[in-house]
Point group: C2
Chain length 715, copies 2
């Protein structure tokens, strides 16, 4: 049970009808200004008196005229919410609390902001909406609130009109706009360069998706990380995405204005809303120190507290999996080479096995044995259940039933075998984005998990969703994910969702949502590769919304080790793979490589065994997006610290200041570092382990190889 | 358990590569001819050597080019299935069986046909498809079959290309093409007149749907009943609609060619198919005697036998309902006047009731008492569950949870009260077409029914479906209905689905599907009205696919009885309301009027109490579509016969030949007839009851008033 440590609120100084109203962060560095001009609301954001956002428009375009697409009529409102507003009331207040997350980078989180609640009246429609600003030291969140009232009950969004007019042509770390996937490599360029880069069509997604043209407009995705020419770091994202479509950011690359663009439903409607309701928070983080972006809890703070009374069953997890061998060893999810299967009809007991099926009893026992030997909590097993032969690419709806194993996977015996060794098998539910099929089988599937002692599930949503025409980032699918997480909680199941919409801090509200993928993970190293800079960017982009199941820990860097024709490889050094367990915060961490590879490098594997998955406190020591990150964390409830330092393709010297250690005591630090000749490209597996003594006065100058890193454990 | 009485099969004379192949009905009156011309397959149908269908095209257009809509790619096949065919093999055979339906118009059904199986080879794609013809004495069914093979596994339909070139400008009984509803009044006109009638826009649906333009083409619905200038009756429909979209019939009104037009999914795809699979049967019934259309079991015979081993729990049902008072007395489904409710959040215990909520304990007990007094099996209660305040028109997905009653409806107490009196309450599940919501709650909803002793449910699908962009007659929704019926069977629940896709004989396979609405029922008498001819048409159109829950039995004909401003009224006489229990065959029959009205006319109500809902045998004595129907039926397992005769707006003399009675015995016939001055318009409630003695030699000349009818019970 989360304990509320401290709450402080001041209610509220009210101002009426001034031309422009403002609210400042507790440290007064960040300032949000609101005004209504020509009956349209606008806001501006300042950081240390530099204008970050200049008169961004606020409002929503609703479906007003009788809207019809493909012969289907959509209920229409008489008036839109785009103009005709006057300020009815503005109320400022302050809020301060310290709360304890179920798991996290810190065991206590300060939630301190100044709030401005703007009540707007729209005379022609005789109704009110509220725009609420919360200004933190790290930035601003604002949202639209739609109180239930006589003239506002059900309404449908044509488009949200929020804009973010920027102060110039910033450097941006961006993914191309796409309603369905975030699994791109991040491109770093000036905003003015986005169009030409997209037009070259050189971006690589690894799945056979469209590039950029499923929106039909020039757009990038949120979270968007930017750096101004004068050294400010700005991050635009959203928080608490519930019952709403995810935003894409349409880019006006002449005026450097971003605007919200919502994923549509199949009929083109961008949101079915029912008052009382609210939009997600639109978030703008800003600092002149990149580390503040990483350290910020603003997005978590903008989410609601845990929806569950009892959270004692929710545990961080370290796991291995019958998984990586499908990428590098030719193992298969499928049991046979059938081209065509049908749930309930295909009789697998009479089918010729393909002999490459990884999720077989013998192999799974081998993983369980390894997990038991090395104290790993769980073993993910993918491909355990029938349906993989024709699971994707056919628009098939009834792909999996989530309860029937292949003949060579004995559910009861294996889970029993695992539990006797103190290990759990982790469930896997690939849905192939057939959300309708998953939902109608969810009660059965989760009861099956409960009956068989599974406590965690990895879900997958590869492909285009069913309901057909919906998008993975659209309102319907976002509601689906929330339905799933709530249903999982009823069965005390924790979730790791892959290919779902990118997170917005909902793990505060649903702490059994341990992690998501929703970005390009390690698997892409086996499918074209990630860049050495990739993990120096993700914490500034994807991870601001919540933990990622990045699946680090690949020791065997070149895949021609498995097959001479396989030219794929990891784009980091081995030491950087270790450092990722610290720099890529997650309460769910996979040791993704094959057990046999870990057995070849047990000294390096020791770090993965040791590293915590839950923390009392975290410190970002150094950070520059796309270049380097150095983070230190104290294990929860233990006198143990872990440090990770990573760099992009450039060698670097990290400066690790051990100031976070208790004063006047000496500790032993075990350093897992790049070998002298290590290089992600030419010599990735060269590493060295050494120990030094450290105190809180120690400042370590640590060399990182090109694409390299360093992991340190302190006890 | 259905017992197979008699099966006779002859396998099979094979002919190769002749120019044209044919197959004749057992009585040789009907003949289907098949040929391939210019590599395209065609068929023709003859009845007594008159050509009914002249060279109808066969084939399907598949999605072949990479198909993309709204940025979503659909898997494509390299070749279509529209041409490039040659005959590989043709095999003829004969089949004859007698089978016993679980319930029906007859307790034994003869299934006797000659079959022609055409194996077509498509060299360029190196694959086979099969077109299978079955020729009965009453007509022809044919379908496409897609055997699973190396070059045919998953494929997607762009359009089915089947055409029905007619021999002339027939009189047609038609509904305008519409993917979402059949709740129109049938128009009777020449095919050449359809366009101008539609363009006048005078059709009335009663719900706020589009007329005709959701297809964007000139089309009518199946079942389509026609009469040729030379007196042939032709009915075009489909049988065994499973995992496929329902057909609309596109009309070429210059050449009188109908062609299949399938309901699309939101992306425009008209079918996701996986071999081994098949299309529904395309059916053409033909006779020179209209009674043969009504008596035909061809569509049932083209469906598969019961999917269930145990059918002992499936029972025909006679019921009353807390329902009609919502249409005529101002009672409401909703408990309050809230404009806006939310499942799980709205606290009804603190809400002000509207005092018009019909499903309250006291009122429901009154209906139960009435049912118990008069031997009625079940009492439907609509509006028992929360959510009705804002159930429609808002695109709301989570409308109902199907398990939570309003505060004034005590589920346990009422069901207990009913069962003690030998009555069951019938469950009601309005889904507001939010099929996703229904599916995800189905396990819980049906378990709730089982726990509370409900054995039957009426489902409703008012509105546009969710998944958004799907149609009630599209493949996805058709699969939904089948999922629901199967799930219901797991809980021994029988189903009466309203607003679902019109039936195609699936009640043979799923005999717990007692009835559907899927046409304009009695409720429309309270919303604009039906025509006096309406029920003289429906048995030739809607009912050829299966029973309809038409809800007859309205005694109080004029609704100004309830409120002086209510100008709605029943468009029949009272006696005709009784006759409908015989002429509108259904194993589910409602006594739809208010108990207090039946108490005013207990002598007439006696017929509703007496009339059977299951039959040993049925005889259609007289029939002309749109004009009159006289039917007689023998109650199952009883020496009781019931006769119904109805007419359109014209007075008529029905000729009732009692030849079906056992020879050499005399019976008492109770005749419920129109009063001498009865007239649907001026004096609808005038009726008379008399008894006569009858033998199997009796031929009764019975006068029917304008819009009138006559019901007779014989014991």
């Amino acid at each position: 049970m989360k304990r509320l440590l401290f709450v402080f609120m001041i209610f509220g100084w009210i101002t009426f009808l001034a031309d422009a109203q403002e609210v400042r962060s507790p440290d007064e560095n960040v300032r949000a200004v609101f005004e209504v001009k020509d009956s349209i609301p606008y806001y501006s954001i300042f950081y240390k008196d530099r204008e970050i956002i200049s008169s961004g428009r606020l409002g929503l375009d609703l479906i007003t005229d009788e809207f019809e697409k493909q012969g289907i009529k959509i209920a229409a409102d008489r008036y839109s919410l785009k103009d005709g507003f006057e300020i009815s009331k503005i109320e400022n207040s302050e809020f301060e609390e310290v709360w304890e997350p179920v798991w996290g980078e810190n065991s206590e989180i300060l939630n301190h902001y100044q709030e401005m609640e703007v009540d707007l009246y729209q005379p022609k429609a005789n109704r009110h909406i509220i725009i609420r600003f919360r200004v933190f030291n790290e930035g601003v969140g604002f949202r639209y609130e739609f109180p239930q009232q006589e003239n506002l009950n059900f309404f449908n969004i044509k488009e949200e009109l929020t804009t973010f007019p920027l102060s110039g042509d910033h450097q941006a770390f961006w993914l191309p706009g796409d309603y369905n996937t975030e699994e791109y490599l991040t491109t770093s360029s000036l905003l003015s360069e986005v169009r030409s880069i997209l037009e070259k069509g050189e971006l690589h997604v690894g799945e056979n998706y469209n590039l950029y043209d499923n929106l039909g407009i020039l757009a990038v995705q949120a979270p968007l990380m930017m750096k101004t020419a004068d050294g400010l770091y700005i991050n635009i994202h959203e928080a608490a995405l519930i019952d709403y479509s995810a935003i894409q950011l349409e880019l006006d690359d002449e005026n450097f204005i971003l605007s919200t663009h919502l994923a549509p439903d199949p009929l083109g409607t961008k949101g079915f809303l029912q008052a009382d309701c609210r939009s997600p928070w639109r978030t703008i983080m800003v600092s002149d120190d990149a580390r503040d972006i990483l350290a910020s809890d603003m997005i978590l703070n903008l989410n609601e507290p845990s929806a569950y009374e009892d959270v004692s069953w929710i545990k961080p997890v370290k796991y291995i999996g019958v998984w990586w061998e499908m990428f590098v060893k030719g193992s298969t999810w499928s049991y046979s080479d059938l081209e065509n299967t049908r749930l309930g009809e295909t009789d697998y007991t009479t089918v010729t096995p393909n002999t490459t099926h990884a999720a077989n009893n013998e192999n799974v026992r081998r993983y369980i044995d390894f997990a038991a030997t090395h104290g790993i909590d769980q073993v993910l097993v993918e491909g355990w259940n029938i349906g993989w032969e024709d699971w994707i690419g056919h628009g098939k709806e009834e792909v999996f039933d989530f309860v029937t194993p292949y003949p060579d996977f004995d559910v009861n015996a294996l889970q029993q075998y695992a539990m006797e060794k103190g290990v759990r098998i982790m469930m896997h539910h690939e849905t192939s984005a057939s959300a309708t099929n998953y939902e109608r089988r969810l009660d059965t599937a989760y009861q099956f998990m409960e009956d068989h002692h599974y406590t965690a599930v990895k879900t997958g949503y590869v492909g285009y969703p069913i309901p057909r025409g919906e998008w993975r980032s659209g309102q319907w699918m976002n509601n689906h994910y929330v339905r799933v997480i709530k249903k999982a909680a009823e069965h005390k199941i924790s979730l790791n969702s892959h290919e779902a919409s990118r997170p917005t801090g909902l793990s505060r509200t649903f702490p059994n949502w341990l992690a998501q993928e929703s970005a390009r993970g390690t698997e892409f190293e086996a499918m074209g590769g990630n860049s050495p800079a990739h993990t120096c960017i993700l914490p500034f982009t994807r991870l601001v919304g919540g933990p990622m199941d990045y699946t680090p820990g690949i020791f065997q860097a070149r895949f021609d080790y498995y097959h001479p024709d396989n030219s794929n490889r990891i784009h980091t050094t081995l030491a950087k793979q270790l450092a990722l367990y610290v720099t890529m915060y997650s309460p769910l961490q996979m040791a993704a490589d094959l057990p046999e590879n870990y057995e070849r490098f047990l000294d390096a594997f020791q770090f993965i065994k040791d590293v915590a998955v839950d923390w009392d406190q975290s410190w970002y020591l150094e950070a520059e997006p796309g270049e380097y990150i150095t983070a230190a964390r104290k294990a929860k409830g233990k006198e143990e610290w872990f440090i990770g330092a990573i760099t992009d393709e450039n060698p670097r010297e990290a400066t690790i200041d051990f100031h976070f250690l208790p004063a006047a005591r000496e500790f032993t630090a075990t350093i897992y570092e790049d070998g002298a000749d290590a290089d992600w490209d030419s010599n990735p597996m060269s590493y060295r382990i050494r120990t030094i003594k450290v105190t809180n006065k120690t400042v370590l100058k640590q060399k990182l190889a090109p694409g390299g890193g360093c992991a340190i454990s302190v006890k």
